[in-house]
Symmetry: C2
Subunit: 222 residues, 2 copies
């Protein structure tokens, strides 16, 4: 079943599918580097440990069809995946909270290859306001609203201390941000029309500790 309406990515994809597509992309990018021309879902399945029927289903959301016996053309699959995932379109973002994680994200040019264009940082600390981090300016958080009137950035990356998480999110949303990428362990409440994704690095640590104690391999990836 192909639920994709067009290649502009208008479909609300199931989250497990969205989680798997970047695995396919990273594998296909490697194949492309090695000048491999075709790849079958069986090959992807063997490499990534995902059932090939699942791969075929996931890829059915894309505007691409594999050829019998030959499989998918690597270059086309690469382009379709990047396009579908939005990695080849530029999405402007601000980092709020320029501590060590926020600074790392501002300096990590690898994110640009995934369509994320960080344009500025915001903070409350006088010692960083007015400075440059990774070539990007850091402004006073109190200037966010007025700054946004000119820049209309849609994504705010939250790397503030946990006790500031909700108020900072509220501030960002009031300034017109429509998506939050939350790196704090706090469960932020947002209005229905605001997108939120949580990168819960502390939850992942808890999972590691728990699984280590049980010497059990959790191969579910997430």
């Amino acid at each position: 079943m192909n639920m994709a309406k067009n290649n502009e990515n208008q479909t609300l994809l199931p989250e497990p599918t969205i989680r798997r597509l970047p695995w396919y992309l990273s594998y296909v990018r490697m194949l492309d580097h090695l000048h491999v021309e075709y790849v079958s879902s069986t090959q992807i399945s063997k490499e990534l440990n995902v059932q090939s029927s699942q791969i075929a289903k996931d890829l059915s959301f894309l505007n691409i069809r594999g050829k019998t016996r030959i499989g998918y053309e690597v270059r086309s699959l690469l382009v379709e995946l990047e396009n579908f995932l939005g990695f080849n379109r530029q999405h402007d973002a601000v980092v709020i909270g320029t501590g060590s994680l926020g600074t790392a994200l501002m300096q990590d040019h690898g994110l640009e290859h995934y369509g994320l264009n960080i344009v500025a940082g915001f903070d409350v600390r006088n010692e960083v306001i007015g400075k440059n981090l990774g070539g990007l300016p850091v402004f006073d958080i109190n200037e966010l609203a007025s700054w946004q009137r000119e820049h209309h950035v849609s994504i705010a990356i939250l790397t503030v201390p946990v006790e500031r998480a909700q108020e900072t999110a509220d501030l960002a949303i009031a300034s017109g941000v429509t998506a939050l990428w939350n790196f704090t362990p706090y469960r932020i409440k947002v209005p229905e029309d605001v997108v939120i994704a949580n990168t819960s690095i502390y939850a992942h640590l808890a999972i590691i500790y728990n699984r280590m104690q049980n010497t059990y391999s959790d191969n579910r990836q997430g």
Copy 2:
């Protein structure tokens, strides 16, 4: 139902529960800072947008019981959560791949409050080998096996380029590491007895982009 055998965290917790416990912890830490003495599951429910029956179920894994009408003692809940999640025990780790993300993790002393003690970095690049990052030494990746014979670190944090992910994981496992925290978008294959947790920041970006296009709020947290 209380599946917890004791407070040494011997139970293989359901992953959704492990993901929620750090939210409770961050809220309870805030209450403790504010010198609040008791909190009910209704209060937690209202604050974190999780059903109170779910909260009671999640907390039943811990050695703590709420009192009727009063709720949970904040300080006890805090200690039990930290203990249960393993955040108050020290887990030694190495960072493999000291690029911008790896460096940020080595410099982020916040992780210590979650039981993660990074002791060294490893890299392939001559320009960083022998240097210090965040007060920690960076060694040649080829020295990992011999270094491990003395240090027996159990966790390897993988922040290498995606095309090095699998080989680096294999090397770390061969050196005696029993848990991998994978920050690459590659789906690493590991033996059954090795724990792996994936922090798929690229998948989270894809989710943000997809949800933004659909102006749909995905409040499922993860």
